[in-house]
Amino acid sequence: MLDILTAILIAGLTTGALYALATVGLSLVWGSMGMLNMAHAAMLTLGGYSAFTLCTVLGLPVIAGFAGAILVGAVAGGLLYVLIVRNLLKTDKATFESNVMIATVGIGIALENAILLTYGGQPLKQPISATGSFILGPVSLPYQNMLIVLVVIALMAVIALLLGRTRMGRAIRATAQNREAAQLMGVAVNSVYFQVLVLSGAIAGICGVMVSSMTQLSPPLGNDPMLKAFIMCVVAGLGNLPGAVAAAFGLALLEAFVQYVAGARWGFPTLLFVVIAVLIWRPAGLFGRVQIRRM
């Protein structure tokens, strides 16, 4: 009984950490610029594959693979801003929300397909992974899972510091709270948007490496975590970072439990039902505030 429970707990916490990372990347962008990045999944995949290229193909050390994934993710985020978002921001604010969604859907498909054409569809092994496990009495903790949870906690701390303590973080939070007021106070809103997308791209890069180290590298790698990250964002209320992390861990534990009890195929539908129930109860999400809109 105990070993089953710990197995569920370990699986839930590990996937929870991964979902939290994917959710934070999405939620950050939504919260500060009102943009839903549908290309996030492809950016995750891109991160995983760039680590593969650096470590397996070029034979560089693991740390270079990590750094490369972060760098490639950040560059992808920056390019997304320069090529797409900057131009769409010039248009009407009312249509921006749906336009940017459609545009990033297109970019996402193109990117995923480009990866498919470059690397082929067969699954590849992610070189950045740890083997073996830590035995503690009756409980065995795989190093891989510990690594993921530790990396995610470290990253969360970095992101929290970045947002809470730096000048850039203050500008991002100000823009998220009120774009016009921030602009009037001298915050360069456009460069804040650029920074947010770069940051979210870097997070997506790491997240891709972590996700692929649990499974395997394949072009649709990012789709599953992103779909779940969407749901977690919605439950927590889009744009709420601490809420998103809490929702990610809670729902991942629930999913691991349901998958054990009722079989793997019921994990996602159960999540969905929970989400719909929560939304009927609280339409702005669990931690979201009801917005008062002025006309």
Binding site: W30, L36, I84, N87, L88, T91, T95, E97, S98, N99, M101, I102, A103, T104, V105, G106, I107, G108, I109, A110, L111, N113, A114, L117, N223, L227, F230, I231, C233, V234, L238, A264, R265, F268, P269, L272, V275, I276, L279, I280, P283, R293, M295
Partner: protein
Amino acid sequence: MNKTCNSKGMSGNARIDLFVSLLLIAAAIALPFMIDSRYVLGQIVLALFYATIASQWNLLFGFAGVFSLAQMAMFAFGGYATAMICFYFGWNVWAALLPGALSAVVFSLVVGLACLRLTGVYVALLTLAIAQTMYLLIVTDTECFTMVGSICRQFTGGAVGFARFGDLGTRALLKGQWLVGNYAIIATLFAVTMVVTYIIVKSPIGLAFRALKDNPGYAVARGVNRFQAQLLVFGISAFFTGLAGGFYAAHFQAIGPGILSMSQLMFIIAITVVGGVGTFWGPLVGTIVLVAADELMREAGEFRTLGLGLIIALSILLMPKGLVGRLGDLLSWLRHRNRAAASAITFQEKPATTGK
């Protein structure tokens, strides 16, 4: 800006719409006589399906502002319901079409009840999740429901789907020319869908949909019930989409989970975006352009999806209102230039008369 010239422009626009539709009907009748290739006619039938779905997604998103990503789920629900009624109860396909479409409406209302309390992106995310769940549940269905011969059949058809449950009866009636018969049926379906959509868009309820899209707060303040109106448009759009799904299953005599895949949904969105979101003729224009582009890219084979993604992104960047919107811009620019030229002429005349 546009609203000021509405009373004058309306009749002109209606005349253009009538002219275009008469032209299209003539083209639709002439088409089977001009095309010998069975492949081309088959692709045209497929394009008519795309155009029907896209027109309904456009009604939902372009006119009512509901960003639903469950459009293909409605289509699949209608198709599956029709196929399953035929498969399990042995009904004739024609009898199963209406129940199939109605069950898609019921499904859409359930989805709508869950999602439409929310707005904007939340609706998009939830409907996407629902569509993906439907796909996953069908694909991973391995439990035996009935035995067909010695083969185990799942209730939802599993990853294989349903096949050989009947057809539209054109094969028995027209023999070798059955494809032309199916073409006529699907073209009629498309025409009826477009006419009903036109009536809805121009009716008071259509105005309410648009008001909710343009300024939800103001529309609600003027007494439009957002939840009811959006649920209604969700149901209407699901009816025609589900009906098209039934015809799709009957035309191909098969239906599988593949139509629920992301790329199919993207194709529908691309069609609407390229043609022009919120324009009546947009989905049709988009279908013609994208199906033609798709056929051309078929030569390039593997780059097809890549190209499609780039087309979506570029067209939203370069022409947010689509091809039809760009055409409208061009027309108004020409009109403006003509007027400017006309006024320039009167200006020139004036000094001439005063100088005398």
